[in-house]
Structures are given as structure tokens and as C-alpha cells.
């Protein structure tokens, strides 16, 4: 039987600061952010590391999105600390 889902995706959670930023987004921006988060959740190595820290800086120029995040120690949760859309 073929698997119902693709590769296991990490859960994504937002810090309070990032949640406040989300509240300012339009529908279109939220849809674009959703696409970026799906991409991140399937490949948390996307983006570039901020040197000497666990933080990573992901930028998607097509959707004008920037996400600052880190992956939890057990690599099960992607914590979004900051976002920009548009």
C-alpha cells in the first residue's frame, strides 16, 4: 500500500511576536506565508544559518517572504520567531 502522505513534516509554531505579525497580514499574504511554511516544514534546512546560532533566515523572493526560525532540539518543531510578507 502506498503511503498516504509524503515525507514527515515538522510541526510549525509561532512565537508571540510572530503571531502578532501574522495578525497584520491580508488573505493573499497569509496564503503566500502558508506556502512558505509548507516548504519549510518539509525541509527545515532551507534558508541560511545565522552564524554561530541555531537561527535560520529563510527568504522566498517569489512570494517576498522572509522567515526567521529555528528547529527544536528533537527536530520536531519549527519555531517561527519573525516573518515578513510583501
Amino acid at each position: 500500500m502506498s503511503p498516504k502522505h509524503g515525507p514527515r513534516r515538522a510541526r510549525v509554531a509561532f512565537s508571540d511576536a510572530a503571531a502578532d505579525q501574522l495578525a497584520r497580514l491580508t488573505i493573499i499574504e497569509t496564503l503566500a506565508l502558508d506556502r512558505a511554511i509548507v516548504a519549510l516544514s518539509t525541509d527545515p534546512t532551507l534558508g541560511t544559518p545565522i552564524p554561530d546560532s541555531v537561527l535560520r533566515d529563510y527568504q522566498d523572493d517569489d512570494d517576498s517572504i522572509r522567515i526567521l526560525f529555528y528547529v527544536s532540539a528533537l527536530r520536531t518543531v519549527i519555531v517561527v520567531a519573525y516573518l515578513e510578507v510583501g
Binding site: 509554531a13 509561532f14 511576536a17 501574522l22 497580514l25 511554511i37 522572509r66 518543531v77
Partner: protein
């Protein structure tokens, strides 16, 4: 080019011009009523006029040597873009400074994306109450 031969950009006005300028309204006085054809106060006679030309964002600027000047509208648009970029960078820097000072936000204290997203869509009126996206 020998720099010593470059003429001064703001030469001292000839004596006749100074005499004309002295008859015109000074700083803080209305220029209305001045006969048509009389030019505006000269910068060297009117310090407030010179200050305005430096301080006002809408005033056309003297292009710097080797630069092409922008229209007032284009200059305002560029300033507006600069302001947005500055605000964006300030917000990012504030988050980074907060992490540097206080540490990383704990996953257990964060809110799952799906929960936030669906609540946001409901606020925007694109998702029925009690429904979720996926």
C-alpha cells in the same frame, strides 16, 4: 581641473541686486502685493527661505555634482520606501535583540501555525466558524 579655478556656486550678489533685494519683504513678511514680475526673495537675503529649501521634503533639491535630480514626487516615493525598509529592519532587529537578551522562545510556549492561521482566516471572514483549512 584645478579646483581653485572653479567658480563659487553661490557668488556674492552684485551691489545692484542687493539693493533690489532689500526692497522686498523680509523673513516672516508676506510677499503678497509685490508687483508681478518681481522675483522671489533671494536666498542670500532671506535666511528663512534658504532654510526652507534645505528642510522641506517637497522642495526641489539642487542635484549634487554628478547626480541626476529626482522630481519631488519621485523623491517622496524613495523616502517613503526608505521609511518602510527602516521600519522593517527595526522590527527584525528588535526580535533578534530580544532573542539575544532573553533566549529562544520555547516551542511549548508557541502557538501551532494551523491554529493561528485558521483563527486569522476566521477573523478575515474567509473561513466559517468551526471549520478548519486542512
Amino acid at each position: 581641473m584645478n579646483l581653485h579655478t572653479v567658480p563659487n556656486q553661490h557668488p556674492s550678489p552684485p551691489a545692484a541686486l542687493r539693493a533690489v533685494a532689500r526692497r522686498r519683504p523680509g523673513p516672516g513678511r508676506s510677499a503678497q502685493g509685490v508687483a508681478p514680475g518681481v522675483p522671489a526673495p533671494l536666498p542670500w537675503e532671506d535666511p528663512s527661505a534658504m532654510q526652507e529649501s534645505v528642510m522641506s521634503e517637497a522642495a526641489p533639491q539642487q542635484p549634487a555634482p554628478g547626480r541626476d535630480p529626482l522630481s519631488p514626487e519621485a523623491a517622496a516615493a524613495v523616502r517613503s520606501y526608505a521609511g518602510r525598509e527602516r521600519a522593517r529592519t527595526d522590527e527584525l532587529a528588535a526580535v533578534l535583540e530580544d532573542i539575544a537578551a532573553n533566549g529562544l522562545p520555547r516551542p511549548e510556549d508557541c502557538t501551532p501555525w494551523e491554529e493561528l492561521r485558521d483563527a486569522h482566516y476566521r477573523r478575515l471572514g474567509v473561513l466559517d466558524r468551526d471549520a478548519d483549512v486542512a
